[in-house]
């Protein structure tokens, strides 16, 4: 924001309150009300307002307080924000970032816990990214803001507490590239966001037992880095895909379809998906833990795939 005056923040309670998860804390004091624009609870219309601002050359960064609430802004995203550049034949472009916290965090319940990325990866004109650590978050957010197209930037509530090395200086992480977080030869776990961190823990655990897992951080969910995905599968010949969204029609399903089309001849075992069963996310922490993927569920899937 200090480098580019056209960058504006728009959303609910992002000023004095600092956003529901304090991501924008202090920015109102630093940049004032003209750059940190607090809106009424009008998600569809403030998404439209941001689109109008973007058409006029501003670079709005929109906060949707919980990813679940993005449903209220879906029309603008689906029919306007992501379509204008194409359907107006390049007369306008929409440099916009939509930031939103997703994921279960111990008891938020059915309408405050969802990971809905899969609903967005099939929307042409929208890039979808999700960082899994502080270093990636900074560089990726900067790339998203610099990008002249709409970018959905999915944050995970549990990861807000993550600590990690973040350089002071400016740097960019590409919006379309996956990254190998851990090299291995026995099986590839493909994941992103919080589930990537859990996958790394599983890989560490198994290393002690002499099994080396490759862990691929997708970072970009749309477009998928097909080259990186297929290269890793060629190497390990086994794959488990882990994400926090519903298994049916999910990110794992899309990657499975990609591998079935492009890389089935390299696979020595069926693709295993770990995801949310097709149920709403219950509020009770005693129930939530049964549906949200955890290390044990990932481990079981890896075992199943290795022993097929």
């Amino acid at each position: 924001m200090s480098e580019d005056e056209s960058v504006l923040l728009i959303g609910e309670d992002i000023g004095v309150y600092g956003g529901a998860f304090k991501v924008t804390e202090g920015l109102l004091e630093s940049f004032g009300e003209k750059r940190v624009i607090e809106t009424p609870i009008s998600e569809n219309s403030f998404m439209g307002v941001a689109t109008g601002l973007a058409m006029m050359g501003f670079k709005p960064v929109v906060e949707i307080m919980f990813m679940d609430f993005i449903a209220l802004a879906f029309d603008q995203i689906l029919n306007h924000t992501t379509k204008f550049h194409y359907m107006y034949n390049g007369q306008v472009n929409i440099p916009m970032v939509i930031r939103t916290p997703a994921g279960a965090k111990g008891g938020y319940g059915p309408s405050h816990s969802q990971s809905l990325e899969a609903l967005f990866i099939g929307i042409p004109g929208l890039k979808v990214v999700a960082p899994s650590d502080p270093y990636t978050a900074k560089g990726l957010l900067k790339s998203a803001i610099n990008d002249p197209n709409p970018v959905l930037f999915v944050e995970n509530k549990v990861l807000y507490g993550t600590k990690g090395e973040v350089p002071e200086e400016s740097y960019l992480i590409p919006l379309n590239q996956a990254m190998i977080r851990r090299e291995g030869t026995d099986l590839t776990i493909i994941s992103y966001s919080r589930m990537l961190q859990l996958s790394l823990k599983v890989a560490s655990f198994l290393e002690k037992q002499g099994v080396t897992l490759e862990v691929l951080d997708l970072i970009s969910l749309s477009p998928l880095d097909e080259e990186a995905i297929i290269a890793s599968i060629k190497k390990t010949k086994r794959v488990v895909v882990v994400d926090e969204g519903c298994k049916t029609g999910g990110i794992g399903a899309e990657i499975s379809a990609l591998l079935a089309e492009e890389a089935i001849e390299y696979l020595d075992a069926p693709i295993i998906r770990v995801g949310l069963p097709n149920v709403p996310i219950p509020a009770s922490i005693f129930l939530e833990r049964h549906v949200i993927p955890d290390e044990q569920k990932i481990l079981d899937a890896v075992d199943q795939c290795l022993n097929w």
């Binding site: 003209k34 109008g52 550049h85 004109g125 002249p148």
Partner: protein, 322 residues
């Protein structure tokens, strides 16, 4: 009726209204011949609204439109040739064939889009108005929509935001009495939609949408109010679409008597009567009518002669390359 508008301007207004009428009649014919695909929502009957509004606006003011937007685009100064080419899906159309009737944009004249979603453009227009305010410009935005859109959440959300932020925008409701088929009496809690402005501490003004002078004087008042920095204004133009909602409409929901009563107040006829009363020669008006019809015929020829877009256009331009 006011008569402060000079004869030359009056002739321009008449010309523009006639252009829209001829253009839309031609579209209707081209549809019936299968020469245009998709759907089309004709502006016939409402010409005084678009032309009256755009007459008051400056060239650098912005317009955002609806599904029934050919009239808005032409009134704003759009090129009938590029519009016709777009409707025929040709490469020289405003959007190279990618947009069509409900997704037309002409950025060169600050026309930021017709819109396929009822009430879809209202928030975007509000954002354009916020951009103007943040940039300390003194132009403004007109957001056209219909009576049906005034029942949409976007209407409420956007008018509220425009009011709290005192944005330079005129919300222009063209109340043509029917949202597709549902009459205002069955869809809307109030018959005078402009009164809804009061809920947003906003100025609200009604006008006779069949009388271009009523539209002009009302919009002039709205523009003065908005440009003076007082915030937004809601204008309701009471009007009537002479044709059906779209080409599939069999007009079962309204009577021929009602249609005929409104057609007696045809906005072009009313203006013509006024001009003849003001001693403008009938031959002058006939010449204008002929000129406008020729413009439409030229547009048709231009669009027919234009090439279709090449195949690769369909799969390109989804993203702007950084």
């Amino acid at each position: 009726m006011t008569t402060k508008i000079g004869e030359q301007k009056l002739l321009e207004i008449f010309g523009k209204m006639t252009l829209i009428r001829s253009f839309e009649q031609k579209i209707n014919w081209l549809f019936s011949k299968g020469m245009i695909g998709g759907t089309s929502h004709l502006y016939i009957g409402q010409e005084a609204v678009a032309v009256g509004v755009c007459h008051v606006l400056r060239d650098d003011d912005y317009v955002l439109s609806t599904h029934r937007g050919h009239g808005h685009l032409l009134a704003k100064g759009g090129d009938p040739k590029k519009l016709m080419a777009e409707l025929m899906g040709k490469k020289s159309g405003y959007c190279g064939g990618k947009g069509g009737t409900q997704h037309l944009c002409a950025k060169d004249i600050n026309f930021l889009g017709t819109n396929g979603l009822t009430a879809g453009a209202i928030p975007i227009a509000t954002g354009v108005a916020l951009a103007i305010k943040l940039s300390n410009s003194n132009n403004l935005v007109v957001s056209f929509f219909g009576d049906g859109a005034s029942n949409h959440g976007n209407f409420h959300e956007s008018l509220n935001m425009a009011s709290i932020w005192k944005l330079p925008i005129i919300f222009l409701c063209e109340n043509n009495l029917y949202a597709m088929s549902l009459p205002v009496s069955k869809s809307t809690s109030i018959m005078d939609i402009y009164l809804r402005a009061a809920s947003y501490s906003m100025k609200g003004l009604p006008c006779d949408g069949m009388d271009v002078f009523s539209v002009i004087s009302t919009v002039e008042e709205a523009v003065r109010w908005v440009r003076a920095g007082n915030g937004p204004c809601l204008v309701e133009a009471k009007t009537y679409r002479f044709c059906g909602h779209s080409k599939s409409d069999q007009l079962k929901y309204r009577t021929r008597e009602e249609e005929n009563a409104w057609k007696k107040r045809d906005p072009i006829k009313l203006l013509k009567m006024h001009m003849l009363d003001s001693k403008i020669e009938p031959s002058v008006l006939e010449t204008i009518e002929e000129e406008q019809m020729n413009l439409v015929e030229e547009a048709v020829k231009y669009a027919q002669d234009d090439d279709p877009p090449v195949a690769r256009v369909a799969s390109s331009g989804v993203f702007l390359n950084a």
